[in-house]
Structure formats: C-alpha cells, structure tokens
Symmetry: C5
Subunit: 321 residues, 5 copies
C-alpha cells in the first residue's frame, strides 16, 4: 500500500505526486521525493524499483521482513533495514522497516502492524531548514524515530526485571520467578538482536570514511549511534542481571530447602523422643514400679511434654525452628 | 563421478563437453566451463587439476572431506570449502562441498550423501543475463544454495528447542529435557562450526580489497555474508538459550525436590502424631482412667483422626501439601 | 542556575562577567571564558548556545541528564558528558556533568545533587602557568576531579565486598550474603557503565589523531585515561569476585545442608534403635523370661542407653555429629 | 646430540658434513644445510650459534624447553618454537621443538622423548622439486609434521569425551564422570596452549607482510595455519562440551537425588501406616471389641497388608516408586 | 633513600657520583647515569625531577605506589610502572617499581619491602658489551628481573592449586577446599592485574612503531613480552581451573549428599521393618497363637533379624550401603 508519495523542494513540501511523475521531480535541482509504503507486494514495489534503480537483492530484502538490521551501500545509494519493536500486552511485537535513500529520493518500506511514520513527516515539514539537507536527513529522521521507540521497550524489560527482583527474595516464588526470568531473557535477546547490528552498521555513517550521502548530516547519525549504544548498554545490563538473578534464584531455593530440612529434623527429633518414652512405658517388664504409682500416668505425660518442650526451646534458640 | 561438464558462452549453455576439450573452450573469449564432481577419487580429479592448474594443497583439501570452511586465493583463482548440512530423522548429516573458481572455469566437488546442485545449474541457465558474469556468479549461486540450506537446519534446532521449552516447566521431565538439551547443544555447535568460519571468510569477497574475480559480483557475496550472519545470530541465540535452559532445568529440579521435601515433612509430622498417641495409650500404667471408659477407644481414634486432620489442614493452608 | 561566569587572560582571572559580555572577552587574544551552570533549563542555556555556537544535539544531551558518557567533536569544539557518582548512606547517587570546550570558552553543565566544582576552579586559579593552556586544561581539570571522585565509590564497593566475604564462610548467613551480593552487583554495574565508555572515549584525546584543542595537553588526558583504566580494573575485579562469591555461597549452602543431613541421619538412627528395643520388650509373647527378671527393666533401660551411647560415639568419631 | 648434519644443493642431498664445514656449503649458491639436534646442551649448540649467527635470546629459548609456541623474526632469519604432544597410556607427553631457519640453513632442536623427524627428511628428499625451495620448505615440513601429530591427540580427547558422555546419563557414575571430565579439561587446556599461540604466530607467515624467507612458500604456511585452526576449533568444541557436561552431571546428581527422595518418602509413608495400625491395636483400652474377635489378628494383618499395598500401588502409579 | 647513583661510559662503570654532578656526566658522549631510589619522598625525588626533566604527572605516579602497570612516552623518554610481587608465608606481597629512562639516564623508584636490584646492576656491569647500549638496556634488565620474579609466584599458585586438586575428590574436605579456592582466585586476579597490562604495554616496545630509545634493543623487549605472555597463559589456566574446581566441588558435595541420603534411606527402611514387626507382636489381640508358642519370642527376634539382614544385604548389593 502506498501511504505517501510527496515531492519536496528546498525542504518545503511541493505536493503529493503520482509515482509516474517521480522521475520529473527528481530531475529538478534541490528537489527530492519521499515515498512511504506499507506491506507492499512485489508488484507495488516494481515501479519504484525502476525509477530509483534499486538493486534486486535489496528489493528482495525489503519485501521479506526478516532481515538482520544493516546499512548497505549500493553505489551512491544507501539501503537500511531495521527492526521495529513495540510492546503489546507484555509481548514484544516485531516488524521490519527498510529505507532506500539515494540522491533525489527516500523510500521507506514498513512491515509492522503498529504505528507508521506520519508523525516523522509532519515534524520534518515543520523544519524546512533541516529538511532541505535532503534524503539523508529523512533517513536520519526515520532511524531516529525507530530507535526512540526502543526506549519504552527497554523500560518495559527493566520494569519487568525489577518486579521479578522484588519477588526473588520472597519464599515460595522461585518457580514463577524462574518462568518470568526465562521469558524475559528471550525478549531481551530479541531486542539485542535488533539493536546491536544496527549500532555496528550505523557507526559507518559518521567519523572516518562516510558515504557521500551522509557527509553533511553525520553528526545526526552519530546521535543515532549514541542512542543505540545507550540502549545496548541497558539491554546488556538487563541480560547480565537476569543471569545473576537465575543463579540467585537457585541459591534461594537451596537456602529455603535447607531451612525446611532443619525444621523437619527438629520436629522429627521432638516426635522421636515422645515415641521412645511412650515405647519405654509400653514395655511389659514385670517390675516397673512407676507403672503402679498413683500419678505415674500424668507424670509420664508431663515428662514427655517437658522433654518435647525442652527440645523445642532449644531448637528455637539455635534457629532451626 | 563426473556429474556434469558443460561449456557456457555469454551466459548461454553451449553444450556438454568432454574433459579433454575443456582447454579449447576456456581459450574462447566470454566462455567458461562449469564442471560438477561427486565423491571423486584422486584419479578422477587429476585431469582437471592439470587443465585448471589447481594447487596440490587445494586438491588435497577437496578430496579429504573434513576441512574447515574457508575461502582461499591461489593467484587469480579462488578455492572455497563449505559444509553442507541437512536434517535426516532428527540427526544432522554433514558433508563437504569444495569449489574451485578461476578465470574460465568453475569446478565443484561435492562429498555429501544428499541433494546435488542440478537445481542451481537450471536456475542459472534461466538467467543468462546474470550467468554471463561468469565463474564468480556460479560460485555465488553455489554458496547461496548451500547457505540457504542452513535455514531449515536452524529452524529444526529452534523447533526442537521450543519443544524442550514447553516441557521444561513441567514436573518430572527434567531427565529427558536434559538429554535433549545436551544433544541439541552438540548439534548447535556443529552448525556453528559450519557457519562462523564461512561468514568470516566470505567477508573478504566484498568491501575493501576484493579478489579480482569477484569485483563485479561483490554485492552478491555481501548478500551471502548477510545470510550467514543472520544464521550465526540465530545459532548464537539457540546456544545461549540452551545454556540458560540447562540452568533453569537444574533450578526446576531443586524446586521440585524442595516441594517433595515439604510434603514428606508434612506427612511425617502427621504420622508421627498418630504414632505418639497410639504409643501413649499403649503404655502400661496401672492408673490410666480413659482406658476403662466405655467409649475410650472410639474417642481415642477420633482424637487421633482430629489431630491428623488438623495438621493436614494446616499444612494445606501453608502450601506444604 | 548560573554558578559562575568568569573571564581569564594568560591563565589569570580577570573578573566575573555578564553573559552578554562573553563575546567581547572571547575576541581578546589569550583570553577565555569559563562558565559553570547547575541544573539549567532550556532558557538559561539559550544565550550560551548562541555565543558559543553549540550544536543543538549536544545542547539537548546536556539538558537531558541520562546520556552515555562520551567525548564528541563538533568542528573544533569538544563535547564531553560524564556520570558523577557519589555514595550516600550506602546508596549510589548519580548525576550528569556535560562540558563544552572550544577555542575561547569552557561551559560546564552539572545535573547532580552533590558537590560542585568550586574547588577545581580555585585550584586552577592557583596555577596560572597551567591554566594559561586554556580551555583544554580546564576540561582536563574537570574530568580529573570527576574521575577522582570515582575512587571513593570503588573503595566503598570493595569495602562492602570484603565485609560480605567475612560473612560468606560463616554458617547461617547465606540469605543475607546473597541479598547483599546481588545489590552490590547492581551498583558495580552502575559504576562500570559510568567508567568504561568514558575510558574508551578519553582514549581519543591523546596518542594518535588528537583533537586540535588537546594537542598540547594530551599528557594530562592520558593521565585521566590511566585513572579510568585503573578504576575499570578494580570494578572488573569486584564484579568477577561477586560472581565467584555467589557460586561459593551456593556451595556453602549445599555443604551446610549436607552437614545438617548427616546429623539428622545420625540422630534418626539413635532414636530408631531405642524405639526398636522398646518395641521388642513391648511385645506380648508369653515366654519372654527377661520380662520377669528382678532387674529386667533397669537392665533394659541401661541396654538402650548403651546402644544409643555407642552409636553416638561412633557418629561423633566419623564426624557426623 | 647431533642427529644429522646434511648439505643440500638444488633440492638434492649432497652429503653428510661435519659442523666445521658448514660455512663452506652455505657459501655455495643454491645450497643449504639442514641440521637436527636432540636434547643438546649449551656446548653442543655453540658452534651452530656462531656459524648461523643465532641471537643469544633465541638460543636460550631453544635450550630451555618450556617456551610459549611462537614465530619470531631475527633479521632475515626465523625462529619457531612449537610444543610436540603425544599420547602415551592416556597421558599427554609434551616436549619442545625449536627451529632456526635462515638463508642457507635450517636447524631443528628437539626436546621430546618421542619420535624424531627422520621421516620428514626422507619425504623431503624424495621431492627435490619442492625441497629446492630451500630452508622455508624444510621449516614448513617440520611444522606440518608437528601439527599433524596433534590430530591423534585431539582424537584421543574426543574419544575420551564420548566415552564419558555414554556414561553421563547412567545413574551412579557421577563421581567417576566428574573426575574424568576434570582430568580431560586439564589435558584440553594443555593442547589448547600448544595450538592457539602457534596458530596466531603462523598467521604472520602468509598473507599481508610476510618474512622474506617465506615469500614463495606462503601457501604452504597457510595450509599449516588452516590445520591449526581446525584443531583449535575441535579443541574449543571439546572444551565447551566439557563445561556443559559438568553442568549436566550436576543436574543428573540432583535428579537422581530427587528420585531417591521420592522413593524414600514413599516407603516411609508405607511403613508409617503399618506402624500406626500396629500401634492402635497395641493400645490398652478395655473396650476394643476387635481384639477379641476370632479372626481379629489375621484381619488386622490383612488390613495392614491392604493399606500398605494400596499405598504402594498408588506411589507406583505416580512414579514415586 | 638513594640506593645508588652511578655514571657509566661505554658500558663501563665510571664511579659513584653525587646527584649534583649528574648533569655533567649526562653531557659527556656515550655516557649515562643510573640512579636507584627506594621509597623516596617528594623532596628526595625533586633534584632528579629537575635534572632529568621528568613530567610532573609521571613523578606523581612514581610516588604513589598504586599505579596500573604501564609504559608511557614523554617525548624521547619512557616511563614504566610495574608491580613487583613476591610470596611470603603463602601471602602475596605487592609493591611498585617505576622506571624513568631517557637519553643519558635511568632512574628506578622502588616501593616494595623485598629485594632490590643490586643483582641486576652487578650482572649488567659484567657485560659491558650489552650495557653500552645504554639506558634502554638497563630498562630491559630491570623489566626482565621483575618479570622473572613472577615465575615463582605463578608456581606457588600452581602448587596451591594442585594441592587443592588432590583434596577435591576426597570426601569431607569441601568446605576447606572452597575457602582455599576462593583465596587462590583472589591471588590469581592480583597477579593477572600485574601481568596483563604490562604485557599489553610492553608490546609497544618492539615490532611496528617503536620509541626511539628502544630501536636497537627491541629484541630484548620482545623477550620480556614473551615471558609476560607465558605467565599470562599460566595465570589464565589457573584461573579457569579454579572456576572448574569450584563447580566440581559443588558437584562433589551434591554427590556425597546423595550418598548420605541413600544410606539414610536404607537404614530407615531396615529400622522401620523391625519397628513394624515389634509393633505387630505388641498388639493386644486375644487370638495371636504365636504369642503362646514356646519359642515364639526367639523366633520373632530371629525373624526380625532375618528381615533386617536381608534388607541390609539387598541394599549392600545395590550400593546404597
């Protein structure tokens, strides 16, 4: 689906144009065309492939939404694929955005159920001074918005981690903590695989040898890289903390287990003493004088109670009960 | 076994030729020869060694099917070894494919029980525009098909991992989960050792300094590299998840163990109380008035039942039972 | 809030100046302006943005106090962001300091509740020989003080770790050790994320290609880098030791558990022997001659005592009790 | 001990020569000397040190057989140290081989109890076409044979690992598996420390900047490197698998433990029920009608049997027994 | 404290000189001054700071003995800091040695309680041929001796590790093994932090771009680097083995625990059978014919003995006892 197809001159919106007229506008000086597609099929993409002279491999990548995030140069043009990730009901929803940017054009191909880039376009059109830097600025604006959308995702991961941490030192929650940590680990890895390759790739858009298209906008791409790096660091922290939390969880299970054991042992000792005493007075010896005492029975019960109570207090003091 | 020996001109199939005629065809301009061998022995390979001027070390590597995946330059020629991996009955079957590509020739040597490259040849012959780029395009097509065959392998690993994950939080499956995880870890390492060195090696076929043969086709090799990198990432995810899953499995065993312990402790306490009571009334004191009561016995049984029931309910409430 | 706005000439303090006069002083030879802001809002920063010609991206970073530590070049100017970390009541308090340094000016923007840089300014003004090296020396002085403030933080982490270590081989402290180790791990990661990127970034201020501003002061920046590296190493040691300590803690739990088990087993055996003996003499066989002995009962008790005592000594000797 | 001292011309063996004549033969064009020493002392090595102009540091390294594997350049000459490892009775036997190679000479110094290099010399002398490439080819031949001798070592490690793996999921073998895994880990590290530095070092003998001596033979050294890399990969796999196996072993112990616990709990419950019933009928209440029944006793026994049998079947069904 | 202050000419000792005369001797051709200080304060160092023109940052580092090992260039001069580590009573004692080396002078500043460098000076003076290479050779000699003193330290670590390993598979030593492993881990990290940065730094003293001072002596520094690398490898092996040993220790605890459990379970079963039998014959049924048998009692005891013995033998056979 074609979402937009607009021509810009000197950073100002000229008008919505038909795909057939693109070549005319690209020929004008200081003019470029910005096209946005959503879930296009091969046929919808074909006319742009011709007019922008896109490489067949890049087109294939744009259509099959499972690419590794990357930045590729094809001659003077750039081809960028990114993962767009959003949180919905605690689940991560992932899609792909591919951007072709070359002299005179930007083409974005989005394959993600969520929010589009109408906001980006609006913001760019409000800053014609910046927009007149042309396609590379649009590319920056698109990358910037996608990267900015990672922040709430990472915050969701961090919030989930904190919520698990609150639980981890509470008894009896080991199983559910573990399931949540495992799930969180997977989500963290998904975000990491979106962020790390893109950070690596975007590092080529500023600094040393820079594609001609980005020469004047490299400070912006450094900013994108910087945000990606910050996200990477946060993700790495979450990841490392999860690993520690899983270990701590195991230790907590062992500690709880150990405490259960001590209590078990203490009660077993108390019961065993009572059992032995009852057994002793249940013996059938002919000469057991206490059996004939008037208060033998209550005394015996009292003795049993005392013995058990004494042990109980002792175990209490040593912390086993 | 010689599978094919065909000459191509300007990207079009000329004809099947005899090995003896290869030199003639190689001498023609815009012409190259594409030979495919399957499990050849030293004698079968010898004539090609001469006509293509292959290096003895490379020939040895092609004949001994246990090489590390690699891309080597011998003068203007390239020598590529790859692992071909397929899944059969849950097991990974591995073989080697070696490709010699130089000006005027491509020679593929396959040592793998499975499917050959007839499909690749057919597809190439349908696109003469591409095929006329010569041996390096054929090299790309062969690498591409082998790399594409890794995807179902990785998907099989991921499917197995997911199936284990469904099991991992279910009680009583720890042992079988563990065996399957261990097995999966080994298979993952096998795939990794096929993919990682090839990704590294193929990174030299595009970008900075590129072998002369690949100058015009480097965008294709970048695509191969990109696929390999994607597979690497997937394999790495599987690997890391297995490690976590083994730890989680251990934790689950400890948690289950802990729960068994609690139940054991609870029942032991209940039984102990009944035993003590029975022991008390089994004592032989002369003066135990309740022993002579009319309903002493049923009362005693009732008291024992009550005591046990009370404990049972209490343990129930604290979650030990 | 504007903390200071002072002009310097040849390393000597000229006078406090109004922001409006900055341009005049910057125009003088051998003269520079050093401005210090604390928690400024966009409006407060605006005049400096104009007079120092600051890049909008850098300004945004300076205002939003959650940047990754970094060193960025904007033309001839440098933009540095750092985390300032202090310890308060066992908690780490973190804030950001951003420094803009260019020909003729230094502007520091602090967003941290704690101590400011009045001391730095004073020390610099006492060494006009050094201060006359200009903005890059001020930048060094600011980095130096922030980095020096990491040392007590790391020492606090090390002290906490040592205090946990004293506890770790003591029985019954596993749970609290674990909580403290987990907490310490988090703090360590916070410090690491302040130090590591800054170390990486500051490595570009000396050695190979150096920003023009730092040409004459690079030995100072090497010193900063060196301190950062030392802190990194200390943090890394703490981090690795925590990981080991968590494992050791788990082992200690298992060892304690094992000892509890042995004691439990030993006592259970002792009690069981007494119970069996009591049970035997409680049997109702008609012909049990010992039951009729005069001293049968005391003998039986003695035998039970002996059996238990014998077992007790035996377990004692094998270390189970 | 001088094993051999032979002069070669144009790849053909001239004759055994005395050390004193070495200089004469080195002066001839297309001529080189190949000396092999075994466990020499300082005095035996001294004459060669002079005639070949060996650096004192290299000579020291050659005499003290505990060097890190390395390749060093001394002017036009190369100095290579390698570990030679063989398997004897399940133990790894390690020694050092040092090779000095320069224009006109090769000197090998072996300090290893096992097999020498007579075979290498014979094979080289059978291929004068190759041998006439001079000292660097001999260096290659020596490196090649040492590296080839690593393969059986790695296979022995792999065989041991597989044998442990067969055992690891079998109950009751945890202790011996663990001891064997620990031992294997140490051996693996020994091999790794022989292979990894040599692979790194040999990577400098082909490709970019190559020592003059190896210019024409670099494809051979690439082959050596390739073999080393393959061994490294195999060793790495063994190492990583051992780590996993140790974890799996721990999990297996925990699982077995858990099963023992369940059985213990089940039997304890069965016995407890029988004990309670016997206790009940051992009580001394006056009115316990069943005690006077004709078949009270057998009925009681039957009831006890039934209760125990019922529990037994129930535990059987839930898998606890 | 000034330990020595000696002038050398052409590698030969001229005489002990006063610090005030240093400048004169430095002015002579082929002459250099070698000064050794021990625990100097700021005042003692001041004259040398002036005459050798030392950088204030380097002087500060030399006085504060907690630097990271490093090699820094200040113009033509080199500044090297190293950790000196010795073993005393099983503890590691650490100190710092700083060396300033420039054209015409070497100044060593030692802050370590142990042995000084008198031996190094003596050895150098015995080899005037080498010593005449000047300050860089002295620097090498000092580095060499410090690095050589690491070897016994590493051997002490290895010996301690081996002694723990002998213990680790012995029952009942888990706790002490663990404490020793933990302690060893810390010491290993201390050595590592002395060795690794120095190895990295010393790699800049030979090979590619080398400080002018070391041009003619770089083969010596390569030797130092080589030794450091060997030590690093050994330390790394110790470190990795400790990690494995801690895991193995935990597994051994679990295995021992498991065996204790089995024995406990077996004895519990044996005792329970005896208890039940005694309980049965303690029941008060009127019609229990065996109670009246002449040999009922001994038969009962025999039966109990048989049952227990049978179980005992059975458990023995299955390895539980």
């Amino acid at each position: 689906m074609i979402v937009n197809c607009v021509a810009y001159e000197q950073g100002h919106r000229l008008r919505d144009i038909r795909p057939a007229d693109i070549a005319d506008y690209m020929a004008r000086p200081n003019c470029f065309v910005w096209v946005a597609l959503h879930n296009p099929d091969k046929e919808e993409l074909a006319p742009f492939e011709t007019v922008f002279d896109l490489h067949e491999l890049a087109v294939e990548d744009a259509l099959h939404g499972e690419q590794r995030p990357k930045v590729e140069e094809y001659g003077e043009a750039l081809f960028v694929t990114m993962h767009m990730i959003t949180v919905a009901d605690g689940e991560l929803v992932s899609g792909q955005v591919a951007v072709f940017a070359g002299p005179g054009y930007v083409l974005s191909v989005r394959q993600h159920p969520g929010q589009g880039f109408a906001g980006v376009r609006k913001r760019c059109e409000h800053e014609p001074e910046l927009l007149k830097q042309g396609p590379s600025f649009v590319l920056y604006a698109l990358m910037d918005v996608i990267v900015d959308r990672y922040f709430p995702v990472v915050e969701a991961l961090e919030a989930e981690l904190e919520s698990i941490e609150d639980q981890i030192f509470v008894r009896g929650t080991a199983r559910s903590s573990l399931e949540r940590l495992y799930q969180l680990k997977r989500q963290t890895m998904q975000v990491k695989h979106a962020v790390t390759p893109l950070a690596e790739a975007s590092a080529h858009l500023f600094g040393g040898r820079v594609p001609a298209l980005c020469l004047d906008t490299q400070e912006y791409f450094r900013d994108v890289y910087d945000h990606l790096h910050r996200i990477e660091m946060a993700v790495e922290t979450v990841r490392e903390t999860i690993i520690t939390a899983i270990q701590v969880n195991l230790s907590m299970v062992a500690i709880d287990e150990s405490e259960v054991h001590k209590r078990l042992a203490a009660w077993a000792a108390i019961f065993a003493v009572a059992t032995i005493l009852a057994g002793v007075w249940g013996m059938n010896f002919a000469h057991m004088p206490e059996l004939d005492w008037r208060f033998g029975y209550p005394l015996a019960l009292a003795l049993m109670g005392l013995a058990c109570g004494g042990l109980y207090r002792r175990f209490r003091r040593t912390g086993w009960l």
